[in-house]
Symmetry: C2
Subunit: 175 residues, 2 copies
Amino acid sequence: MTDTHAGVQPLDPRQLGAYFVLREAVSLLEHQVEQQLRADGDISYVQFQLLASLTNAPGPLTMTQLADGVVYSRSGLTYQAGLLEKAGLIARGPTPEDERATQVTITGKGRALVERVLPGHVELSRRLLFDPLSDDDVRHLGDIMTRVRDHMRAQPPRSAAPRKRRPTSPAATQD
Amino acid sequence: MTDTHAGVQPLDPRQLGAYFVLREAVSLLEHQVEQQLRADGDISYVQFQLLASLTNAPGPLTMTQLADGVVYSRSGLTYQAGLLEKAGLIARGPTPEDERATQVTITGKGRALVERVLPGHVELSRRLLFDPLSDDDVRHLGDIMTRVRDHMRAQPPRSAAPRKRRPTSPAATQD
DNA sequence: TATTGTTATACTCTATAACTATA
DNA sequence: TATAGTTATAGAGTATAACAATA
Protein backbone atom coordinates (compact mmCIF):
# COMPACT_ATOMS: atom_id res chain seq x y z
CA MET A 1 0.00 0.00 0.00
CA THR A 2 1.43 3.38 -0.92
CA ASP A 3 1.85 5.63 2.06
CA THR A 4 2.40 8.93 0.28
CA HIS A 5 -0.38 10.83 1.99
CA ALA A 6 0.78 13.70 4.11
CA GLY A 7 -0.82 14.74 7.35
CA VAL A 8 -1.77 11.31 8.60
CA GLN A 9 0.71 9.22 10.45
CA PRO A 10 0.81 5.87 8.70
CA LEU A 11 0.07 2.77 10.66
CA ASP A 12 2.98 0.69 11.77
CA PRO A 13 3.44 -1.97 9.04
CA ARG A 14 3.14 -4.63 11.68
CA GLN A 15 -0.25 -3.29 12.69
CA LEU A 16 -1.38 -2.97 9.11
CA GLY A 17 -0.38 -6.55 8.43
CA ALA A 18 -2.08 -7.80 11.56
CA TYR A 19 -5.26 -6.00 10.65
CA PHE A 20 -5.47 -7.36 7.13
CA VAL A 21 -4.52 -10.90 7.98
CA LEU A 22 -7.11 -10.83 10.76
CA ARG A 23 -9.76 -9.74 8.29
CA GLU A 24 -8.66 -12.35 5.76
CA ALA A 25 -8.51 -15.26 8.17
CA VAL A 26 -11.86 -14.44 9.71
CA SER A 27 -13.42 -14.06 6.30
CA LEU A 28 -12.28 -17.55 5.37
CA LEU A 29 -13.54 -18.86 8.70
CA GLU A 30 -16.89 -17.16 8.34
CA HIS A 31 -17.39 -18.57 4.89
CA GLN A 32 -16.72 -22.13 6.00
CA VAL A 33 -18.89 -21.84 9.09
CA GLU A 34 -21.71 -20.44 7.03
CA GLN A 35 -21.55 -23.50 4.81
CA GLN A 36 -21.51 -25.88 7.75
CA LEU A 37 -24.51 -24.28 9.44
CA ARG A 38 -26.43 -24.22 6.21
CA ALA A 39 -25.61 -27.85 5.48
CA ASP A 40 -26.27 -29.20 8.97
CA GLY A 41 -29.21 -27.08 10.05
CA ASP A 42 -30.22 -24.80 7.19
CA ILE A 43 -29.55 -21.68 9.21
CA SER A 44 -27.22 -18.72 8.89
CA TYR A 45 -24.69 -17.68 11.51
CA VAL A 46 -26.90 -14.78 12.53
CA GLN A 47 -29.77 -17.18 13.10
CA PHE A 48 -27.50 -19.48 15.03
CA GLN A 49 -26.46 -16.57 17.21
CA LEU A 50 -30.05 -15.66 17.95
CA LEU A 51 -30.91 -19.23 18.91
CA ALA A 52 -27.74 -19.51 20.95
CA SER A 53 -28.54 -16.28 22.79
CA LEU A 54 -31.94 -17.65 23.71
CA THR A 55 -30.42 -20.95 24.74
CA ASN A 56 -27.97 -19.25 27.05
CA ALA A 57 -30.48 -16.82 28.51
CA PRO A 58 -32.18 -17.79 31.75
CA GLY A 59 -35.58 -16.98 30.29
CA PRO A 60 -37.33 -15.28 27.39
CA LEU A 61 -35.79 -12.16 25.89
CA THR A 62 -37.38 -9.12 24.34
CA MET A 63 -36.60 -8.27 20.77
CA THR A 64 -34.38 -5.43 21.90
CA GLN A 65 -32.42 -7.66 24.24
CA LEU A 66 -32.09 -10.26 21.54
CA ALA A 67 -30.80 -7.74 19.05
CA ASP A 68 -27.86 -6.77 21.18
CA GLY A 69 -24.58 -7.65 19.57
CA VAL A 70 -26.11 -9.74 16.82
CA VAL A 71 -27.95 -7.39 14.54
CA TYR A 72 -27.49 -3.73 13.67
CA SER A 73 -31.04 -2.70 12.85
CA ARG A 74 -34.42 -3.39 14.41
CA SER A 75 -36.06 -4.36 11.18
CA GLY A 76 -33.24 -6.79 10.51
CA LEU A 77 -34.10 -8.59 13.70
CA THR A 78 -37.80 -8.61 12.90
CA TYR A 79 -36.94 -10.20 9.59
CA GLN A 80 -34.77 -12.89 11.14
CA ALA A 81 -37.22 -13.54 13.95
CA GLY A 82 -39.92 -13.95 11.36
CA LEU A 83 -37.94 -16.64 9.62
CA LEU A 84 -37.14 -18.43 12.87
CA GLU A 85 -40.73 -18.30 13.99
CA LYS A 86 -42.01 -19.58 10.67
CA ALA A 87 -39.57 -22.46 11.02
CA GLY A 88 -40.95 -23.19 14.50
CA LEU A 89 -37.64 -22.51 16.21
CA ILE A 90 -38.83 -19.61 18.35
CA ALA A 91 -42.15 -18.25 19.54
CA ARG A 92 -43.15 -14.65 20.03
CA GLY A 93 -45.69 -13.43 22.51
CA PRO A 94 -46.66 -10.43 24.61
CA THR A 95 -44.57 -9.31 27.54
CA PRO A 96 -46.55 -9.00 30.78
CA GLU A 97 -44.66 -6.06 32.27
CA ASP A 98 -44.41 -3.97 29.13
CA GLU A 99 -47.18 -4.27 26.60
CA ARG A 100 -45.06 -2.72 23.90
CA ALA A 101 -42.45 -5.41 24.07
CA THR A 102 -42.39 -8.84 22.48
CA GLN A 103 -41.22 -11.83 24.44
CA VAL A 104 -39.17 -14.30 22.46
CA THR A 105 -38.91 -17.91 23.57
CA ILE A 106 -36.93 -20.71 22.03
CA THR A 107 -38.93 -23.85 21.26
CA GLY A 108 -37.92 -27.44 21.79
CA LYS A 109 -37.33 -27.65 18.09
CA GLY A 110 -35.08 -24.63 18.34
CA ARG A 111 -33.05 -26.16 21.14
CA ALA A 112 -32.84 -29.40 19.21
CA LEU A 113 -31.52 -27.56 16.19
CA VAL A 114 -28.81 -25.86 18.20
CA GLU A 115 -27.78 -29.21 19.59
CA ARG A 116 -27.74 -30.75 16.18
CA VAL A 117 -25.68 -27.99 14.66
CA LEU A 118 -23.29 -27.26 17.48
CA PRO A 119 -21.03 -30.31 17.23
CA GLY A 120 -20.19 -29.61 13.61
CA HIS A 121 -19.71 -25.96 14.38
CA VAL A 122 -17.35 -26.77 17.22
CA GLU A 123 -15.53 -29.38 15.20
CA LEU A 124 -15.05 -26.99 12.30
CA SER A 125 -13.75 -24.18 14.46
CA ARG A 126 -11.32 -26.59 16.02
CA ARG A 127 -10.09 -27.84 12.68
CA LEU A 128 -9.82 -24.44 11.04
CA LEU A 129 -8.94 -22.14 13.90
CA PHE A 130 -7.43 -24.08 16.76
CA ASP A 131 -5.45 -26.82 15.07
CA PRO A 132 -2.54 -24.55 14.23
CA LEU A 133 -2.61 -22.82 17.63
CA SER A 134 -1.02 -23.69 20.94
CA ASP A 135 -2.86 -23.42 24.23
CA ASP A 136 -0.97 -20.25 24.89
CA ASP A 137 -2.00 -18.84 21.53
CA VAL A 138 -5.63 -19.56 22.31
CA ARG A 139 -5.36 -17.95 25.72
CA HIS A 140 -3.72 -14.89 24.24
CA LEU A 141 -6.19 -14.69 21.35
CA GLY A 142 -9.14 -14.86 23.70
CA ASP A 143 -7.62 -12.26 25.94
CA ILE A 144 -6.81 -9.93 23.06
CA MET A 145 -10.19 -10.15 21.42
CA THR A 146 -11.98 -9.74 24.72
CA ARG A 147 -10.15 -6.50 25.33
CA VAL A 148 -10.88 -5.34 21.80
CA ARG A 149 -14.53 -6.25 22.09
CA ASP A 150 -14.92 -4.50 25.41
CA HIS A 151 -13.09 -1.49 24.06
CA MET A 152 -15.38 -1.25 21.05
CA ARG A 153 -18.50 -1.78 23.08
CA ALA A 154 -17.48 0.98 25.43
CA GLN A 155 -16.75 3.43 22.63
CA PRO A 156 -19.60 4.02 20.18
CA PRO A 157 -23.27 4.65 20.76
CA ARG A 158 -24.91 1.30 21.22
CA SER A 159 -25.91 -0.58 18.14
CA ALA A 160 -29.40 -1.69 17.30
CA ALA A 161 -31.37 1.26 18.54
CA PRO A 162 -30.30 4.70 17.39
CA ARG A 163 -33.14 6.78 16.09
CA LYS A 164 -31.13 8.55 13.50
CA ARG A 165 -27.76 7.55 12.15
CA ARG A 166 -26.02 10.26 10.21
CA PRO A 167 -22.69 9.31 8.63
CA THR A 168 -20.75 12.54 8.60
CA SER A 169 -18.26 13.87 6.07
CA PRO A 170 -19.18 13.61 2.43
CA ALA A 171 -16.21 12.55 0.38
CA ALA A 172 -14.98 16.08 -0.23
CA THR A 173 -12.87 15.47 -3.35
CA GLN A 174 -15.33 15.49 -6.26
CA ASP A 175 -17.25 12.32 -7.14
CA MET B 1 -28.89 -33.19 7.52
CA THR B 2 -28.77 -36.57 9.23
CA ASP B 3 -25.69 -36.09 11.30
CA THR B 4 -24.32 -38.91 13.36
CA HIS B 5 -22.54 -37.03 16.07
CA ALA B 6 -22.24 -39.66 18.75
CA GLY B 7 -19.45 -38.99 21.19
CA VAL B 8 -18.35 -35.57 20.08
CA GLN B 9 -15.76 -34.19 22.40
CA PRO B 10 -16.85 -30.74 23.49
CA LEU B 11 -14.55 -27.85 22.81
CA ASP B 12 -12.45 -26.58 25.65
CA PRO B 13 -14.44 -23.67 27.14
CA ARG B 14 -11.43 -21.47 26.64
CA GLN B 15 -11.45 -22.25 22.94
CA LEU B 16 -15.19 -21.80 22.66
CA GLY B 17 -14.91 -18.43 24.35
CA ALA B 18 -12.03 -17.36 22.15
CA TYR B 19 -13.93 -18.35 19.04
CA PHE B 20 -17.08 -16.45 19.90
CA VAL B 21 -15.36 -13.33 21.15
CA LEU B 22 -13.27 -13.33 17.98
CA ARG B 23 -16.40 -13.49 15.88
CA GLU B 24 -18.09 -10.79 17.92
CA ALA B 25 -15.18 -8.36 17.94
CA VAL B 26 -14.56 -8.75 14.23
CA SER B 27 -18.24 -8.30 13.50
CA LEU B 28 -18.23 -4.99 15.34
CA LEU B 29 -15.04 -3.98 13.57
CA GLU B 30 -16.41 -4.93 10.16
CA HIS B 31 -19.54 -2.95 10.71
CA GLN B 32 -17.68 0.20 11.65
CA VAL B 33 -15.21 -0.13 8.81
CA GLU B 34 -18.03 -0.62 6.36
CA GLN B 35 -19.54 2.65 7.51
CA GLN B 36 -16.26 4.51 7.23
CA LEU B 37 -15.56 3.27 3.71
CA ARG B 38 -19.07 4.06 2.62
CA ALA B 39 -18.94 7.53 4.12
CA ASP B 40 -15.45 8.45 2.90
CA GLY B 41 -15.42 6.80 -0.51
CA ASP B 42 -18.79 5.21 -1.16
CA ILE B 43 -17.30 1.75 -1.47
CA SER B 44 -17.68 -1.53 0.38
CA TYR B 45 -14.84 -3.39 2.04
CA VAL B 46 -14.83 -5.95 -0.76
CA GLN B 47 -14.43 -3.16 -3.28
CA PHE B 48 -11.68 -1.63 -1.18
CA GLN B 49 -9.90 -4.97 -1.12
CA LEU B 50 -10.06 -5.28 -4.88
CA LEU B 51 -8.67 -1.80 -5.36
CA ALA B 52 -6.00 -2.40 -2.75
CA SER B 53 -4.97 -5.66 -4.42
CA LEU B 54 -4.53 -3.82 -7.68
CA THR B 55 -2.62 -1.06 -5.95
CA ASN B 56 -0.22 -3.52 -4.39
CA ALA B 57 0.26 -5.63 -7.49
CA PRO B 58 3.22 -4.78 -9.73
CA GLY B 59 0.97 -4.74 -12.78
CA PRO B 60 -2.48 -5.66 -14.02
CA LEU B 61 -4.18 -8.76 -12.68
CA THR B 62 -6.51 -11.20 -14.33
CA MET B 63 -9.95 -11.64 -12.89
CA THR B 64 -8.94 -14.97 -11.45
CA GLN B 65 -5.90 -13.52 -9.72
CA LEU B 66 -7.99 -10.66 -8.43
CA ALA B 67 -10.60 -13.00 -7.02
CA ASP B 68 -8.19 -14.80 -4.76
CA GLY B 69 -8.97 -14.34 -1.12
CA VAL B 70 -11.52 -11.62 -1.70
CA VAL B 71 -14.49 -13.24 -3.34
CA TYR B 72 -15.87 -16.75 -3.28
CA SER B 73 -17.51 -16.97 -6.67
CA ARG B 74 -16.51 -15.87 -10.14
CA SER B 75 -19.78 -14.18 -10.84
CA GLY B 76 -19.45 -12.27 -7.63
CA LEU B 77 -16.24 -10.78 -8.88
CA THR B 78 -17.73 -9.97 -12.26
CA TYR B 79 -20.46 -8.11 -10.44
CA GLN B 80 -18.07 -6.12 -8.29
CA ALA B 81 -15.71 -5.43 -11.17
CA GLY B 82 -18.67 -4.18 -13.15
CA LEU B 83 -19.47 -1.69 -10.43
CA LEU B 84 -15.87 -0.54 -10.11
CA GLU B 85 -15.51 -0.16 -13.86
CA LYS B 86 -18.75 1.78 -14.12
CA ALA B 87 -17.42 4.09 -11.44
CA GLY B 88 -14.21 4.56 -13.43
CA LEU B 89 -12.01 3.05 -10.75
CA ILE B 90 -10.70 0.14 -12.79
CA ALA B 91 -10.47 -0.74 -16.48
CA ARG B 92 -10.83 -4.14 -18.07
CA GLY B 93 -9.15 -5.21 -21.28
CA PRO B 94 -7.86 -8.25 -23.12
CA THR B 95 -4.80 -10.14 -21.95
CA PRO B 96 -2.13 -10.52 -24.63
CA GLU B 97 -0.82 -13.94 -23.59
CA ASP B 98 -4.17 -15.59 -22.99
CA GLU B 99 -7.10 -14.43 -25.02
CA ARG B 100 -9.55 -15.95 -22.60
CA ALA B 101 -8.42 -13.83 -19.70
CA THR B 102 -9.35 -10.29 -18.77
CA GLN B 103 -6.69 -7.88 -17.63
CA VAL B 104 -7.76 -5.56 -14.85
CA THR B 105 -5.99 -2.26 -14.31
CA ILE B 106 -6.59 0.32 -11.64
CA THR B 107 -7.16 3.84 -12.91
CA GLY B 108 -5.79 7.07 -11.52
CA LYS B 109 -9.19 7.72 -10.08
CA GLY B 110 -9.07 4.31 -8.44
CA ARG B 111 -5.69 5.01 -6.89
CA ALA B 112 -6.91 8.40 -5.76
CA LEU B 113 -9.88 6.80 -4.09
CA VAL B 114 -7.71 4.36 -2.19
CA GLU B 115 -5.54 7.24 -1.07
CA ARG B 116 -8.54 9.20 0.04
CA VAL B 117 -10.09 6.35 1.95
CA LEU B 118 -7.04 4.75 3.48
CA PRO B 119 -6.23 7.31 6.19
CA GLY B 120 -9.65 6.98 7.73
CA HIS B 121 -9.52 3.24 7.43
CA VAL B 122 -6.15 3.14 9.14
CA GLU B 123 -7.21 5.60 11.77
CA LEU B 124 -10.34 3.63 12.54
CA SER B 125 -8.52 0.33 12.82
CA ARG B 126 -6.05 1.97 15.16
CA ARG B 127 -8.77 3.43 17.32
CA LEU B 128 -10.94 0.32 17.45
CA LEU B 129 -8.45 -2.50 17.23
CA PHE B 130 -5.00 -1.35 18.30
CA ASP B 131 -5.69 1.17 21.02
CA PRO B 132 -6.30 -1.49 23.67
CA LEU B 133 -3.38 -3.65 22.49
CA SER B 134 0.29 -3.63 23.34
CA ASP B 135 3.02 -4.04 20.73
CA ASP B 136 3.43 -7.57 21.91
CA ASP B 137 -0.28 -8.23 21.50
CA VAL B 138 -0.16 -6.95 17.95
CA ARG B 139 2.84 -9.10 17.13
CA HIS B 140 1.17 -12.14 18.59
CA LEU B 141 -2.13 -11.42 16.90
CA GLY B 142 -0.47 -11.05 13.52
CA ASP B 143 1.49 -14.21 14.05
CA ILE B 144 -1.56 -16.18 15.16
CA MET B 145 -3.78 -15.06 12.36
CA THR B 146 -1.09 -15.62 9.76
CA ARG B 147 -0.76 -19.21 10.89
CA VAL B 148 -4.52 -19.64 10.89
CA ARG B 149 -4.86 -18.15 7.45
CA ASP B 150 -2.09 -20.28 6.00
CA HIS B 151 -3.58 -23.32 7.65
CA MET B 152 -7.00 -22.64 6.16
CA ARG B 153 -5.62 -21.92 2.74
CA ALA B 154 -3.81 -25.24 2.82
CA GLN B 155 -6.97 -27.15 3.75
CA PRO B 156 -8.59 -29.19 1.00
CA PRO B 157 -12.12 -28.15 0.12
CA ARG B 158 -14.79 -29.95 2.10
CA SER B 159 -17.58 -32.28 1.09
CA ALA B 160 -20.21 -30.16 -0.62
CA ALA B 161 -17.68 -27.89 -2.31
CA PRO B 162 -18.10 -27.89 -6.08
CA ARG B 163 -14.49 -28.47 -7.05
CA LYS B 164 -13.23 -25.18 -8.34
CA ARG B 165 -10.33 -24.32 -6.08
CA ARG B 166 -7.92 -21.71 -7.27
CA PRO B 167 -4.20 -22.16 -6.90
CA THR B 168 -2.79 -19.75 -4.35
CA SER B 169 -1.36 -16.75 -6.10
CA PRO B 170 1.24 -14.69 -4.24
CA ALA B 171 0.32 -11.45 -5.96
CA ALA B 172 -2.85 -10.25 -4.35
CA THR B 173 -2.38 -10.56 -0.64
CA GLN B 174 -2.11 -7.71 1.73
CA ASP B 175 0.35 -8.56 4.42
C1' DT C 1 -42.93 12.52 23.55
C1' DA C 2 -40.20 8.47 23.66
C1' DT C 3 -39.86 3.61 23.00
C1' DT C 4 -41.03 -1.22 21.14
C1' DG C 5 -41.72 -3.56 17.37
C1' DT C 6 -43.56 -4.32 12.55
C1' DT C 7 -44.17 -3.30 7.68
C1' DA C 8 -43.11 -1.62 3.19
C1' DT C 9 -39.71 -0.97 0.20
C1' DA C 10 -35.51 -0.46 -2.07
C1' DC C 11 -31.17 -1.91 -2.45
C1' DT C 12 -26.76 -4.71 -2.10
C1' DC C 13 -24.65 -8.77 -2.46
C1' DT C 14 -23.93 -13.74 -3.34
C1' DA C 15 -24.04 -17.93 -5.93
C1' DT C 16 -25.56 -21.56 -9.21
C1' DA C 17 -26.17 -22.69 -13.85
C1' DA C 18 -26.07 -21.82 -18.56
C1' DC C 19 -23.46 -19.68 -21.94
C1' DT C 20 -19.36 -17.93 -25.08
C1' DA C 21 -14.74 -18.02 -26.34
C1' DT C 22 -10.49 -19.47 -26.15
C1' DA C 23 -6.66 -23.16 -24.76
C1' DT D 1 -12.14 -31.28 -22.58
C1' DA D 2 -10.83 -27.77 -19.54
C1' DT D 3 -10.41 -22.96 -18.32
C1' DA D 4 -11.63 -17.67 -18.13
C1' DG D 5 -15.07 -14.83 -17.84
C1' DT D 6 -19.93 -13.11 -18.35
C1' DT D 7 -24.92 -13.25 -17.95
C1' DA D 8 -29.33 -14.49 -16.15
C1' DT D 9 -31.59 -15.04 -12.31
C1' DA D 10 -33.05 -16.17 -7.87
C1' DG D 11 -32.75 -15.65 -3.06
C1' DA D 12 -30.85 -13.97 1.27
C1' DG D 13 -29.97 -10.17 3.91
C1' DT D 14 -29.83 -5.18 5.31
C1' DA D 15 -31.41 -0.60 6.36
C1' DT D 16 -34.36 3.51 6.24
C1' DA D 17 -38.65 5.46 6.91
C1' DA D 18 -43.37 5.38 7.97
C1' DC D 19 -46.42 3.35 11.05
C1' DA D 20 -49.27 1.63 15.32
C1' DA D 21 -49.45 0.71 20.03
C1' DT D 22 -47.94 1.52 24.53
C1' DA D 23 -45.14 4.03 28.27
